[in-house]
Amino acid sequence: MELVEKVSGDVTILVLNGRLDSNTSKLLEDKVMDVLRQGCKKLLMDFQDVDYINSTGLRVLLLALQQLKKSQGKLVLCCIKDYMKEVFEISGYTEIFPIFTTQEEAVTGFA
């Protein structure tokens, strides 16, 4: 799991790379808590290079969403690979997260 943090206006973008599983999800959780402490209210997670996610990774997304909601913040996802979409649907995540096809659309989606 690799994480790159970028900023676009007032949107913090976390570009994720690799697997989000039981061994790596803590890294994302720590990073999310870190950017929230810095006052981030608009968080975008880019899944372009994520090739695997399990329930531990999915839980981190829900945790991040719940934390952001406390400060009237928003979490948006983008670029989830087609073969992983069904798992997001079954988890109920397509109902609770705005999910965009491209990073550009996602950034615009905050407005």
Binding site: D21, S22, N23, Y52, N54, L63, M84, V87, S91
Partner: protein, 138 residues
């Protein structure tokens, strides 16, 4: 009958990487779509993470056996372990209708297993947990 792979792993989370490779190899050999390979990997990951994380309390090594069998387009998986008796089908499923803010963090793994497989059957026999799962590859 069909192609059968039997995979043995010890009760360590890092072993799941080896299992993931075996699933990938099995799926690719039979031309499974990418989505199927991912979902089978995920199902085994969820179930075995549970067994390895919560099933043993004696700090000794245990062997877990995973079998993958493909007959025509029918994939049959079985998991056998000597962990504490645990029927994942009796485990609570998350209430996906609960407001997102209130939703409990947990139970999602088993929910995914049930939804992604066509059938899941549990039995406890000879001091072992046995789980049988089936899915049509399409």
């Amino acid at each position: 009958m069909g192609d059968v792979v039997v995979f043995r792993l010890s009760n360590k989370l890092l072993e799941l990487d080896r299992l993931a490779e075996a699933v990938e190899a099995f799926g690719e050999r039979h031309g499974f779509p990418r989505k199927m390979i991912y979902q089978v990997r995920l199902v085994l990951d969820e179930l075995l993470t549970n067994v390895i994380s919560y099933g043993f309390s004696d700090n000794t090594a245990h062997e877990i056996e995973v079998e993958m069998r493909l007959v025509d387009s029918r994939l049959m998986l079985s998991i056998e372990d000597d962990a504490a008796p645990f029927d994942p089908l009796q485990a609570m499923t998350p209430d996906l209708t609960t407001a997102m803010e209130d939703r409990a963090i947990g139970g999602l793994g088993i929910h995914l297993v049930r939804k992604l497989m066509d059938s899941v059957r549990y039995e406890r026999r000879d001091e072992k947990n046995r789980l049988f799962l089936e899915k049509t590859i399409s």
